[in-house]
């Protein structure tokens, strides 16, 4: 059964959503959908139709497209960061998810398409990103990276690309961190607005992804 996750400020999902909604309307009209799936809240922005259950199967940490990755925007001029995440995540107090060793698994499925700048401002684009979670009630802000490359064997000294070689180069890629692996949220229920930033506000370039809202709920054993 589909669940509708609200996403904010993501104009590139609109076309997809319209298409999917039309399809759903058609399917619903012939009785393919249960009544529950017809309840769609679009008041806060766009809708990305991914069942929370699909996120449970996402292997966090891998670098590549997954079934929950944001769709690549049609517009070739798009430069930015997009993320998808489950709407509701449950945890059992005092128990760790064996797969991640965190109290819950919250995949943040991301996609970016950005220009490669010269000279580089970060070791790499994903290493320059920050994952931000803001508790909607307390406004407390939690920040962490999206990737950890500390285990890397440093590369041999090589000749870097020149400015000319990087002229007109942009890059698009996927990432899927577990929010809790990088952002130390407390093990208590809460509602968080999560987004990803690259660069500092007021600087050029600065990018901020769409914001997703995640409800973390404690459940009984």
């Amino acid at each position: 059964m589909a669940r509708y996750t609200q996403n904010h400020t993501n104009p590139y999902l609109k076309g997809t959503v319209r298409l999917l909604l039309s399809l759903m309307w058609l399917m619903g009209s012939v009785g393919c959908l249960s009544p529950k799936t017809e309840v769609i809240d679009m008041t806060k922005g766009d809708v990305m139709i991914i069942d929370d259950k699909v996120y449970e199967d996402i292997e966090t940490g891998i670098l590549g497209p997954t079934p929950c990755s944001p769709q690549k925007p049609e517009d070739p001029s798009f430069r930015g960061i997009l993320i998808n995440a489950p709407q509701r995540v449950t945890f059992i107090q005092g128990r760790l998810v064996p797969e991640t060793n965190t109290f819950a698994k919250i995949p943040i499925c991301g996609y970016y398409h950005l220009n490669v700048i010269y000279p580089p401002k970060y070791p790499s684009i994903p290493e320059g990103m920050r994952m931000v979670a803001v508790n909607t009630e307390t406004q407390e802000k939690y920040v962490g990276p999206v990737i950890d490359c500390s285990d890397a064997v440093p590369p041999p000294k090589t000749i870097p690309f020149t400015k000319e070689e990087l002229e007109g180069i942009s890059v698009a890629a996927y990432f899927n961190p577990n929010l809790l692996e990088f952002v130390p949220l407390p093990e208590v229920p809460g509602v968080y607005e999560v987004y990803i930033e690259l660069g500092e506000k007021g600087e050029d370039p600065y990018f901020r992804s769409n914001t997703v809202t995640i409800v973390i709920v404690a459940v009984e054993r």
Partner: protein, 526 residues
């Protein structure tokens, strides 16, 4: 029952009365069952358990394990021969001047495995020998958990205050390592650097058992299946020799040598825009090559030669996903892609490694009828990074790679990785969280160089490096002073003074649980 006599003749306690030793006094203080010894010191393997169940599985006598010390006080003559009545004496344990200092918090922590500090430095209440010429003192002396700590046990005659000392007792820890080597990989021939580092520097003796082999896997990446397969293979190999360890298994660390530990970035798209493609009739029509650099700020290398590939086609498919020339709304697939998308070996590698490619040369000729401007969209799989090793938290497995960047890791580099991962295995670097299972100081002020994140995962030490440059993350160009820096260097094998203290103090009596074939997801420190 064996024993080691005290050193030298009776001495006068500072400030005590000067008396000739003309009566029946203490001849020596014997450490009971004093083997093994190193030089003139008795070795006390404090992390190993005492008890019958353990007997026979270790070279050390039971008395040389655990924290309890037994001594025998021996007189010159028997009470009966001396005819001077009962002999009264006192005992105490004197810690060495350079022993580890424990914080008040540590002393108060109820652990149960050891006493953080001997509480018996003061002279005991008088004890008596009423017959024979000796008495065994049981359950009175305990040493700390800290490797390298030194203790001497003293006895003195109550009447004349003559003091006799035992030979020194040095605190050691002992663990075993079982190497599991993939077949046909260049695993370190010896790990003497690793062993000496802990043994000589930190009184952590490492016994190395004969290595066993397991099936080779070309690469272990971030994917669940390959990690589980690797763990199953390692466990199968270890289970074959598990009986070697029996009750001491919890003091065994398994070292698995792998081929590569490369992490793949799949579906990495590089767009070059604008690109001019020649029309069919131009002179360049047969070949117009455009170099596409593979980068996202850092140079990315193609996923080439990482997996086992039997044919050129398989080798090509491992890195190539798709290539298009896009102009307006037209999206033209580059035909015959294996010929028209050529990986370019990076010439800066010496010697050149044909699989190390960070550029793809794309032929855009014969795609469009007239000269046209568009863009190349190239989708490839790339290496996100080569990892040096993994320490699986919660279990007793360390993983060391033997190849990265299309070359073999040196023996020294593998040893350096082992030292770093072993550091994590014993709880480095203390981070101020008192709930940690190991007994390390957990006052951040004592570890000013401890850090988390900054581009590294886990708790590390930035001694000699300082805070990262603007941007908040280390970039790999640092020259650290401590092997616990988040990114290992083969020429850095020493712990900094702060970390040294913690490595020495850590209580290893809990040991480690056996790694589980499904435990891939446990914490990974790097």
């Amino acid at each position: 029952m064996g024993g080691t006599p005290g050193t030298g003749s009776p001495t006068r306690e500072a400030g005590g009365r000067v008396q000739p030793c003309a009566h029946n006094c203490i001849l020596s203080v014997w450490i009971l069952n004093p083997y093994p010894q190193q030089g003139a010191e008795v070795q006390q393997f404090v992390n190993l358990p005492q008890g019958e169940a353990y007997q026979g599985h270790s070279d050390e006598h039971e008395d040389r394990r655990g924290h309890r010390i037994r001594v025998r006080i021996i007189l010159r003559q028997t009470i009966e021969e001396a005819r001077q009545g009962n002999f009264r004496f006192q005992v105490r344990m004197v810690p060495g001047g350079s022993n580890a200092l424990y914080t008040g918090q540590e002393k108060n922590r109820a652990h149960g495995h050891y006493l953080a500090q001997p509480d018996n430095e003061d002279w005991s209440d008088p004890l008596t020998i009423s017959s024979g010429n000796s008495r065994v003192i049981e359950d009175h002396f305990s040493v700390t958990a800290a490797g390298g700590d030194m203790f001497t046990i003293q006895a003195r005659c109550v009447e004349y205050r003559h003091v006799v000392s035992s030979i020194p007792i040095r605190v050691w820890r002992r663990i075993w390592v079982q190497e599991v080597k993939m077949t046909n990989v260049g695993a370190a021939r010896d790990i003497i650097v690793f062993r000496n580092k802990f043994q000589n520097g930190h009184h952590l003796a490492i016994r190395q058992e004969r290595a066993v082999t397991m099936t080779r896997m070309a690469n272990i990446g971030d994917g669940r299946l390959e990690k589980e397969q690797f763990l199953r293979n390692t466990r199968r190999a270890y289970d074959g020799v598990r009986s070697r360890f029996r009750t001491r298994e919890r003091y065994v660390v398994v070292i698995a040598y792998t081929d590569q530990l490369a992490v793949k970035q799949a579906g990495f798209t590089v767009i070059k825009d604008p690109v001019a493609a020649p029309g069919f009739n131009t002179s360049e029509a047969m070949g117009h090559f455009i170099d596409v650099p593979i980068t996202d700020g850092t140079e990315r290398y193609l996923w080439k030669g990482i997996d086992d590939a039997a044919t050129d086609e398989e080798r090509f498919q491992s890195w190539f996903v798709s290539a298009h020339f896009v102009t307006g709304s037209r999206r033209i697939a580059i035909p015959n892609s294996q010929q028209n998308c050529q990986p370019v070996p990076d010439p800066s590698f010496t010697p050149v490694r044909p699989d190390a490619c960070k550029k793809v040369r794309v032929n855009v000729a014969r795609l469009v009828p007239r000269d046209t401007t568009g863009r190349i969209e190239l989708v490839v799989n790339v290496v996100n990074r080569f990892r040096g090793g993994i320490s699986y938290g919660g279990g007793n497995l360390i993983c060391v790679c033997t190849r990265s960047w299309w070359r073999s890791e040196t023996q020294l580099a593998q040893n350096a990785v082992l030292i770093h991962e072993m550091g994590h295995k014993i709880g480095m670097v203390p981070d101020g969280n008192p709930s940690r299972t190991c007994d390390l100081e957990h006052t951040n002020a004592l570890f000013p160089n401890q850090y988390r994140r900054r581009g590294h995962r886990g708790s590390h030490c930035c001694a000699g490096v300082g805070p990262p440059a603007a941007g908040g993350e280390y970039d790999g160009s640092e020259a650290p002073d401590c092997v616990m820096f988040g990114s290992s260097r083969q020429n850095v094998q020493d712990f900094c003074p702060h970390c040294t203290r913690a490595v020495n103090k850590v209580d290893l009596s809990d040991g480690w649980g056996l790694f589980s074939p499904s435990g891939w997801s446990l914490l990974q420190f790097f």
